[in-house]
Amino acid sequence: MRRLKLEPWLLILPVVVLLLVGFVLPVASVLLSGFTTPGGGWTIENFTRFFESAFHTGAAMRSLRMALVQTAVVLLISLPLAYAMSRASAKVQAFMMIAIVLPVMTSVVVRSFGWVILIGPAGPLADIPGFLELSKSRQGLLGTELGVNIAMVQVLVPFAVLSILGVLNGVDRRLEEASRTMGASFGRTAWSVVFPLAIPGAIAGGTLAFAMSISSFITPNLIGGAQIPVLAAIIYTDATTNLNWPFAAAQSLLMLIVVLVTIGLTAKLSARR
């Protein structure tokens, strides 16, 4: 009856209210400070400054591009990985889960330094950028977008894998079996039956990965350095070092809008398909 649909809401009303009061209001008030002058008046100067600065718009475009690339790669890796895990025994699954989450539990500097060793000038992958004509320097992938992307993908994969895995664990194996008996190979079954069913998990995981990617700056800083400035890092510096709060708030607001629009568009597109 009608109650059935209401009951869950009664349960979460407090949480929702808490979320609103505890997050939306204060963050909104901070973001609104992007429209204020240091004196306290109203202005859109912070926004015009942003759009007039090639450095800032460039960094924003880069952040967006990198987040999109990272999210795409993360999903490409996570779908098969999660699929294989979902079909492994509980033991193997637990083991792989820990192996995959390992990067998240490791201090960011240790993790990044690992990457420096691997993709730095003395590392085994040092020749890739020259080969791909990505970079003129002999710094390996350090200081390149590709290098940052690789390091970020590693941190983002666990999030996507876990949210896809949850969905795939719930998919009845008989669906795959049925597909196989109808002449679909393993690969076609994965493509036509398993992955479509994993879409909700992929959307969730992709959204998380995208959000985390665009808002993270420590790894980009450690791997990309000053030459690959990302918006999140600029915001952090503006707020904590330059103490230009209104400008940081304005940029945060723009970043948030871009993210929301991107997610909205992707959702629209994938719904149409």
């Binding site: 008989r174 079996e177 109808m182 002449g183």
Partner: protein
Amino acid sequence: MAELIISSVRKSFGETEVLKGIDISVPSGTFVSLLGASGCGKSTLLRCIAGLETTSGGSITVGGQDVTDLAPEKRGLSMMFQSYALFPHMTVLDNVRFPLRMQGKRYGNRAKQKELAKQALDQVRMGDFASRLPRELSGGQQQRVALARAIAGEPRVLLLDEPLSNLDARLREEMQVELIELQRVLGLTTVFVTHDQDEAMSLSDQVVLMRDGVVEQAGTPEELYRRPRTPFAADFLGAANLLDVSVEIDNSRATAVLAGGDTVPVRTSNSGAATLVLRQEKVRIGDPLSTDDSVVTATVVSRVFRGGEVQYLVEYQGAMLRVVANGESMLSAGDQVELSWSSSDALVLS
């Protein structure tokens, strides 16, 4: 279109051995029913044939090719699951089109595939539901879609796991006719799992009766019905009454001594303890038709109206027997009745 040979197939789940060495040979183009009680291993055997379970032993051959270690999709068969296994993210039409898509070359372009899928849906009377999602269908409707999907791909071997269990008699009969026709026209080798012995007998060229992971008896329906080799087979296929008797042979005339001391003539050449099998429809209530008939006296325990007929449970010397009378019969519990049967209808298994 392909012969199916199963030799000494075994399957265990951990400690439990579910299939204990199954041998079945299904000639190309025949319709075989797997019949057996709940939990005897029918579905498991079907899954082994389909390649969905790792067998613990034995081999499976399809059309002369050993497929024991072949991937399921390379076996050229199609299976309908007891639980349907419809793809929840596809419409009914796309579900049925799936096997056609997977064998693209054979079934031409998208439009052609859709047409063929539509045909299969019409065969199961589900043409009107093509654009629904599976979860928007009733149980019986889902079952029919699963059936349509199984037959759409025109496999070499068709494996059906209780495909009609959720359908009403009318529809079930129509589906049976469609299935038989399809099977005859395409020469499909069909393995049909059912728990319904009537269905098994009316559809099949061959019936395989399973019991606890072994084949109890296999043969044509009439063979199994007329010459069951065990009391279990006799009972399972014909709702028979089983009575423990001891057979005495005197001058090559065999007599069975019943529990109450009654003696009845039987046809057998083995003396000693045996089981007397009396099919319920062969036992008459009331006066015997001929003086040669065997007659015993029993007490009515209960009466069940079954439309065309009435079924009575009667007690004879502690044994419960089922007998049927025509729909107008109006005996009630406690009534004494005479049961009679022709000695040629009494089967003795020793």
